[in-house]
Amino acid sequence: MTPNSGTGTSATRRLGVLVIVLVISLALFGLQFSAEDVVQGSTVRIMYVHVPSIWTAYIAFFLTAVCSGVYLSRRQRSLAWDRVAGASAEIGVLFVAVSLVTGSLWGRLTWGTYWVWDARLTSTAFLFITYVGYLAVRRLDGTHRQRARRSSVMALLAVLEIPLVHFSVNLWRSLHQDASVADPNAKVKLDGLMLFSLFLGLVTFTLLFVWLVLHRQRTMLLEDSFADRGLDVAIAERRNEAGVQ
């Protein structure tokens, strides 16, 4: 892969085509073929985007944690693990945002409010903020290795924090019996075709996620290589300073 070509390879192109096909299928099944909900009517169709989004986000953050753990544990540390961790987190944050927005809209359409303080939504919001913080730490100054070590530790700390917050929030909301399941998702009865569409959504989003991570971590590699090349130039310039004064 030379710098002049893009970050695509034949494998990613094939994957990309598959994803496009799946997205179109999902749209068809989600918007057209599957039935409306008895209670919610057409608004239930948001589910086909909302649920897969959060599902994919969880996969993304799980991947980030695993890659960070691997990076820290091995003697021979390839920066690729850190790049995948970072790319995965970025895409994960994107999907959480989608999930929050679609969840909010869904709530608006079903209950009339953009936000409810239920456990799931609140925990999701925290998930979002936590990884925004992770991304901010990734952007701090330093060499690639420093960034990798810091980020890996942050990712593992997040693995500790997320369940803690989730648990606390659940405990908290369980005190308020009246404001319980305000999650439109929970009240939907899924028939065969709807179930299939949902499953299709999960597969589609997962493959989309893979495609995005592959490309993103390649662009990160390119960015790092570019910075390194910049370093070579800078080194040469620095050496030339000697004796010029």
Binding site: G133, A136, Q146, R150, S168, L171
Partner: protein, 231 residues
């Protein structure tokens, strides 16, 4: 050859050092405590309803604590970078886990003092009343919650310290993480105050949550502090 003393001695020395610095400079008493008190007063301006104030006093107290904590944590690390002291400690190969424990302990002590002040302020300003058991529960809550805050504050404070553009990172990193403490401490304190008819007995499970949080971050912090602070 210089031989390094045991981790416990180092931690104690570091904690002592931080507290000596506070004693000499009186930042906590002269600057942070007034700030915390003012925050409590401003809550009263904003909420403008004595019934509500009394009801939400626990939450306000812990919010004021968290906001003040940001300042105290930053201060804890400003003294380290003012003349490159933490750098020098690292160069000397001093065990970073021990440094973490020491600084956490000092931070805990400072926060605890602040919380006592805030409790007194809540009693005075918001008309809070407690039974003897309630008072005990409030104290236990403060001790356990502060243990967790001290650890997590030192951990992220170290990361957010020093270099340009980092200080603003502290609230973003710290506030989400301490959400469990805010939730747990507030609920336990509500039980202690009897706010909204909460029974004192309902507070103890929340204190359990706070204890779990403290243990997790005491361990995680001791291990993670070095890598996060190192360059």
């Amino acid at each position: 050859m210089s031989s390094v003393k045991s981790r416990r001695t180092i931690a104690v020395a570091v904690a002592r050092k931080d507290l000596s610095i506070e004693w000499n400079s009186r930042i906590l008493t002269n600057q942070v405590a007034p700030f915390a008190a003012i925050v409590m007063v401003m809550f009263a301006f904003a909420l403008d309803n004595e019934g509500i104030l009394q009801r939400v006093a626990p939450g306000l107290m812990w919010l004021a604590t968290l906001f003040s904590m940001l300042i105290v944590v930053q201060r804890s690390f400003t003294v380290e970078s003012a003349d490159g002291a933490l750098d020098a400690l690292r160069v000397a190969g001093v065990d970073t886990g021990a440094i973490f424990v020491g600084k956490s302990l000092a931070l805990m002590v400072q926060l605890f003092v602040l919380e006592i002040l805030l409790l007194a302020t809540a009693v005075v300003l918001y008309g809070v009343e407690m039974t003897a058991v309630g008072l005990l529960e409030a104290f236990v809550t403060m001790v356990v919650a502060t243990a967790g805050l001290g650890c997590v504050g030192t951990l992220y404070g170290g990361l957010a310290a020093g270099a340009k553009g980092r200080e603003t990172l502290l609230p973003l990193l710290l506030l989400p993480v301490v959400a469990p403490v805010l939730i747990g401490a507030t609920r336990a304190t509500e039980a202690a105050f009897g706010s909204g008819g909460t029974a004192v007995s309902e507070g103890w499970p929340w204190i359990g949550l706070l204890a779990v949080f403290a243990v997790i971050f005491a361990v995680a912090g001791t291990v993670a502090f070095g890598p996060l602070v190192d360059e």
